[in-house]
């Protein structure tokens, strides 16, 4: 069974078809990329999958469960975590706190536990604390743990968003242009990190990116979008050779 299946997903905004009949499947453990020029509808597609907006038609199925009309909270609880094209951190909270918010779903203690400082609460917090530390180390932000998220550099904020998304222990991690603003070195590091995370098991990654070279090297499969439609799909080598893709898009790699 595929992890994520999109069937003829469509959404218009005032007459403009932002996403038009897009379908594809993502298998568990894959690194699946979505590329396309600006305005192709990639972020809208993400928003449709995560429930931020509703599709006009079509469906989204996650691990056999239809999530098309579910709320963002419900979809998150089903195992999807994402990052955003424009960074959406909780800027007044510390780096550590941001990641801890990511771990919200995994905690189950209630308010009474909190106010009576029961061990259930304390243990859960301590466990999360340790896990967060680990995540911060993974993205290389452990030295900034107590700093305000808003004070971080752009690259650091991107890494923080990634750590926060990972804190939710998702089955599907959706990244919207995670390498934007990164230099080659940083992009390679990110690539390696993503491969490591997937290889460790239990994680599938769906990623939008403009850095075509990066995607070709990283992804198992790639879908190409333009004007809201899926132009092509397949292995990176197949996609690279596809005539319409070449015509519409390639040549603009960063």
């Amino acid at each position: 069974m595929s992890l994520l299946r999109l069937e003829s997903l469509s959404r218009s905004f005032g007459g403009v078809k932002a996403v038009n009949g897009v379908s594809f499947e993502v298998e568990p453990g894959q690194l699946y990329g979505v590329i396309g020029p600006n305005g192709a509808g990639k972020t809208t597609l993400f928003n449709l999958i995560t429930g931020l907006i509703r599709p006009d038609s079509g469906s989204v199925v996650l691990e056999g469960v239809e999530t098309t009309r579910k709320s963002p909270e419900q979809i998150a609880r089903l195992g999807i975590a994402r990052t955003y094209q424009t960074i959406r951190l909780f800027d007044t909270m510390t780096v550590r706190e941001n990641v801890m918010v990511g771990g919200h779903i995994g905690l189950s203690y209630n308010l009474l536990d909190v106010f009576t400082a029961r061990s259930r609460y304390r243990q859960a917090e301590r466990a999360l604390f340790k896990r967060v530390d680990g995540l911060l180390q993974t993205v290389g932000l452990e030295h900034r743990a107590e700093d305000e998220a808003g004070a971080l550099s752009y690259g650091e904020q991107r890494r923080l968003e990634l750590a926060r998304a990972l804190a939710a222990q998702p089955s599907l991690l959706m990244l919207d242009e995670p390498a934007a603003g990164m230099n080659t070195r940083e992009a390679i590091d990110l690539s390696n990190l993503l491969r490591q995370l997937v290889a460790a098991g239990g994680l599938t990654v769906l990623i939008i990116e403009h850095n075509v070279k990066l995607m070709m090297g990283l992804c198992d499969r790639i879908a190409v979008m333009n004007f809201g439609e899926k132009l092509a799909e397949g292995l990176p080598s197949e996609v690279r050779r596809n005539a319409s893709v070449v015509e519409a898009y390639l040549g603009k790699s960063e």
Binding site: A76, R82, F90, H104, I105, E125
Partner: protein, 295 residues
């Protein structure tokens, strides 16, 4: 009772006010944490005051129970109206909550049962100042714990970016309504305390200007942590007293002082902490929350 208090100088009442205003400021703060600008505290304070007074006067309910009952009433009202109105944002929400407060005042003013414009008198005296302080301390502890829990973090997250919070699985509506209900109950208890402290209630105590003043306490103190509103309430309650010697210049200097402070410390008094930190780790808000949890 009033004469006795006056006789002992305003200090007894002043201390009471410090506690009362701090709790009120906290009742606004809990909704502000979640990014909701609610001026409904005064309305709920009125509900708490009148309910408790009437319950003890007409139903003979003893003091602590009338407080609890009144709080339950206030909480129910908050639960009822919270859902629909918390869909509104920013100023729209603020004005709606003002409307709610005015509606409460209006009911109190025009209903015979609540004494109308003459208000209620002869409310059994029962509140000691230490009651309110105990309540305040309880709240401070509550906020302290809250901030170190997933619930507190969720509230702040909702306040910063509600959509992002939802994408992390946080049921934002539930949290916002809960914060609203909590604030309502805090304000209600404050009102009940007030009713049994001064044994007289009048609708004019629960006005729009008082509601805005309470907001001012919270913002003036700083919204980075629960200490901000408490600090703001204390400073702004003491200031008019400290300026008493200025006589009719008192409120003018008070206003100017607040103005000057806000301009230099727009994020509240808590901002002063920033000056004591190295530039690198300027944190605008609450101190780091994860000193390792005690075993």
């Amino acid at each position: 009772m009033q004469i006795v208090l006056d006789f002992f100088g305003s200090y007894g009442y002043l201390i009471y006010l410090l506690a009362q205003n701090s709790v009120l400021a906290l009742s606004v703060y809990i909704t502000l944490m979640a990014g909701q600008l609610s001026l409904a505290s005064i309305g709920f304070m009125a509900i708490g005051a009148y309910s408790s007074a009437l319950l003890s006067m007409n139903a003979g309910l003893p003091y602590p129970f009338s407080l609890v009952f009144a709080a339950l009433i206030a909480g129910s009202v908050a639960l009822l109206i919270g859902g629909p109105i918390l869909r509104l944002k920013g100023v729209y929400l603020a004005i709606t909550t003002v409307g709610f407060g005015e509606l409460m005042r209006f009911i109190a003013l025009n209903w015979d049962y609540t004494g109308g414009a003459m208000g209620l008198s002869g409310i059994p005296a029962a509140t000691e100042t230490w009651h309110v302080f105990a309540f305040l301390l309880l709240l401070i502890f509550g906020f302290h714990q809250l901030r170190r829990s997933r619930h507190g973090r969720a509230l702040v997250a909702i306040g910063r970016d509600e959509m992002a919070a939802r994408s992390m699985g946080i049921p934002t509506t539930r949290y916002k309504v809960s914060a609203f209900v909590a604030g309502a109950m805090m304000a209600s208890v404050t009102g009940s305390f007030a009713a049994h402290h001064t044994n007289y209630l009048s609708p004019s105590e629960f006005s729009f200007s008082t509601a805005v003043l309470v907001l001012m306490y919270a913002v003036f103190g700083g919204l980075g942590s629960h200490w901000g509103p408490v600090l703001g309430a204390i400073v702004l309650t003491l200031l008019p007293e400290m300026f008493r010697f200025l006589q009719d210049w008192r409120m003018i200097i008070y206003g100017m002082s607040v103005l000057i402070v806000v301009i230099f410390l727009p994020d509240g008094l808590l901002e002063i902490r920033k000056l004591f930190r190295r530039k690198k780790d300027r944190v605008a808000h609450a101190a780091s929350i994860m000193e390792s949890p005690k075993a």
